[in-house]
């Protein structure tokens, strides 16, 4: 039961600004993911919420009460660390009950809570082990258990899955989501992995260079990125970006990518893009999944690119194809039945309803 507000948060380390003014409202029971490349200030922001890092300026409030000067032990938050940070000399049971024992909870209450958390996380049979006898995934569970038993106002996760192998990471991702559905607690989760961010979050906060680029539900970020950074960061493989100009011909708008490639802009967007006719400094963005093999007579408004395929990467369910437009690598995703071959020509259809036009000067999506 807690709602967290960040107001104009700034963090300065000596002469560098790690966080440069962040405003964020996190609702009660919400699962918010801070995502961005390393050095974007996401971990620092989390540590400021935890109280492990002092705030240079701004306010952090929990349930309307400013906690800037409240020490971590009195903030009633629990944190899961990247390297788990389990106490090596204690058993799993002692690790999980440490916080409660410090607060002098009655023994029976501690036992009840630990058993309950162990049951949720399926680690009941590990309670008497020491951390060094556990695998990476088990340690991760214990670290989560230690957070759950305290029943805190807020859960904080600092890249909790980065130390796990790929398979376990997917498994634990689901686990975290399942736990959050059972134990509805306000959660702030930091990761550099956009897939983790998309799958876990109610709302994703994309950060870059100490600032928030965009806040939104996963699907909104995917479909309506506000900036080129968000457009390129969310989605894998990443969105294609090509220099372009907008021109008018026969009463319709076109995006010109090269001398012989000009793609028609959907009618619904004419009004939006008309102001940029003939301008320079524009970038055209299209995700690989919106660049697929042309189906004969299947496309409503044909926007074709005849591509000379340089590399193909079959993934089983689909094939990634790479070709160049004016020296820039472009990626498309075609069905494995389309018969894409390296060195062959292939006609690809661009789904222009999903295109983005970006102003190079501001980096904003127009």
């Amino acid at each position: 039961m807690a709602h967290v507000s960040l107001r104009k948060i700034v963090k300065r380390f000596d002469d560098t600004e790690a966080v440069r003014g962040i405003d964020l409202e996190i609702a009660d029971k919400e699962f918010v993911v801070l995502v961005g490349p390393s050095g974007c200030g996401k971990s620092t922001t989390l540590r400021m919420i935890a109280g492990l890092e002092e705030i240079t300026s701004g306010d952090i409030a929990v349930d309307g009460e400013v906690v800037n000067d409240v020490p971590p032990k009195d903030r009633d938050m629990a944190m899961v660390f990247q390297n788990y940070a389990l106490y090596p000399h204690m058993t799993v049971y002692e690790n999980m009950s440490f916080g409660l024992r410090l607060k002098r909870y009655p023994k029976t209450e501690i036992a009840r809570r630990v058993q309950e958390a162990a049951r949720i996380l399926d680690i009941t049979e590990l309670l008497q082990r020491k951390p060094r006898q556990l695998s990476g995934g088990q340690r991760q569970r214990v670290a989560m258990g230690r957070a759950i038993v305290r029943n805190p106002k807020v859960f904080l996760f600092d890249e909790p899955l980065s130390n796990l192998d790929a398979k376990l990471r997917v498994q634990m991702r689901t686990e975290i989501k399942r736990v959050h559905q059972k134990v509805r607690t306000t959660t702030v989760y930091v990761t550099h992995d956009q897939v983790e961010a998309m799958t876990l979050a109610d709302r994703v906060v994309v950060m870059n260079r100490g600032l928030i680029e965009q806040i939104g539900a996963p699907n909104d970020l995917y479909h309506d990125p506000a900036t080129r950074f968000v457009a390129g960061f969310i989605g894998s493989p990443a969105m294609n970006f090509l220099q372009c100009s907008v021109e008018e011909a026969d009463g319709e708008l076109r995006v010109r990518l090269s001398e012989d490639i000009a793609l028609p802009v959907p009618a619904a967007r004419h009004a939006r893009y008309k102001a940029h006719l003939g301008r320079s400094g524009l970038t055209f963005g299209l995700r690989p999944e919106h660049l697929t093999e042309a189906k004969p007579n299947g496309d409503r408004q044909p926007a074709y690119i005849d591509a000379m395929l340089e590399v193909t990467e079959p993934l089983g369910m689909e094939t990634l194809v790479f070709f160049r437009i004016r020296g820039i690598d472009v990626c498309g995703r075609v069905s494995p039945e389309a018969g894409a071959r390296e060195g062959a020509r292939m006609r690809l259809a661009a789904r222009m309803d999903n295109m983005h036009l970006i102003d190079d000067a501001t980096g904003r999506v127009l």
């Binding site: 020490p71 009195d74 938050m77 940070a85 090596p88």
Partner: protein, 304 residues
């Protein structure tokens, strides 16, 4: 290397790799054992000689017989020392001084090391280096100014600090605290930062982080520091020699020298027996805690 390559060329080509590996290893092992034996003889000869001499009577020691053989073994030296009130006083003084110094040292060094390694405050890094530099000043340089200070204190404040066994409780920590603090700083620094942060998030204050997490996790280092402090206090010779003179205030190393050497008469049998008995407590402690001691000295360095 030459021996190894010789083997190398002689070995049948099929087993070439295996043969050269084991030859080189065997060669290294031979030399290791050779030097181990040399060093063992070098370091064990004095104590063995002490042991042999301790079983001899004064007459046998001064007789021109084989010094490495006891013809008439006797426990007389042991009987005499262990029933001498004076020797037992020395022993008691030594034990009191060493145990209290160890306690004082730990009470100072552990919190100091924790503060210097974890609570970043202004000048903490300089202070940590300073602590170590203090240790580098030899006691032979310090005892004269210390003596002067005590004399001044006596003159102006009337506090008599000289010739009391408990004054050693003030002096020994100047040797043990810097080194123990330094060991503990290294050991605490190897504990991941997230561990204290996790404890802080779990609701611990700094004192609880120290007592509930740091001390148990750093226990091997702590034991190493304890052994060090005990050994230094137990074996310290110069300070008690300079600052204590009355027979009832002496500690073991000085007591043996002053009470068993009378003028130019050396009571070798009892001196050797006393030295052996004096060396026993550290030896026993080492034997029990050796594994911890080595782990404590090396773990801090490799854990990173």
């Amino acid at each position: 290397m030459t021996v190894a390559s010789l083997h190398h060329s002689l070995a049948p080509p099929r087993r070439r790799k295996y043969g050269s590996m084991s030859a080189e290893r065997r060669w290294a092992l031979h030399w290791s054992y050779f030097f181990l034996v040399v060093f063992a003889i070098f370091f064990l000869t004095p104590p063995v000689y002490m042991l042999i001499t301790s079983f001899k009577s004064s007459a046998e020691i001064s007789a021109a017989t084989n010094p490495w053989w006891v013809s008439h073994p006797t426990l007389g030296n042991y009987r005499e020392l262990l029933t001498s009130a004076q020797f037992l006083t020395f022993f008691r003084n030594s034990a009191m001084v060493s145990l209290i110094v160890v306690a004082i040292t730990m009470l100072i060094s552990i919190p100091a090391a924790f503060a210097l390694s974890r609570m970043r405050f202004w000048g903490s890094a300089t202070l940590a280096t300073g602590v170590f530099l203090t240790y580098l000043i030899p006691e032979t340089l310090l005892f004269i100014p210390l003596f002067k200070m005590f004399a001044l204190l006596n003159e102006y404040a009337g506090i008599e600090l000289i010739n009391h066994w408990w004054v050693l409780l003030l002096l020994y920590p100047t040797l043990t605290v810097p080194f123990c603090t330094w060991i503990m700083i290294g050991y605490f620094a190897s504990i991941p930062k997230e561990l204290d942060e996790a404890a802080l998030m779990d609701g611990a204050n700094y004192r609880q982080v120290l007592t509930r997490v740091f001390i148990p996790v750093a226990l091997p280092g702590l034991i190493a520091a304890t052994i060090f402090a005990f050994t230094v206090s137990w074996a310290q010779f110069l300070y008690p020699l300079a600052f204590t003179t009355s027979a009832d205030q002496l500690v073991l190393p000085v007591g043996i020298i002053t009470s068993l050497i009378k003028g130019d008469v050396f009571n070798w049998g009892q001196i050797m027996t006393g030295a052996l008995l004096g060396a026993a407590p550290p030896l026993v402690i080492y034997a029990f805690l050796m594994d911890y001691y080595i782990a404590g000295l090396t773990a801090g360095a490799t854990k990173g």
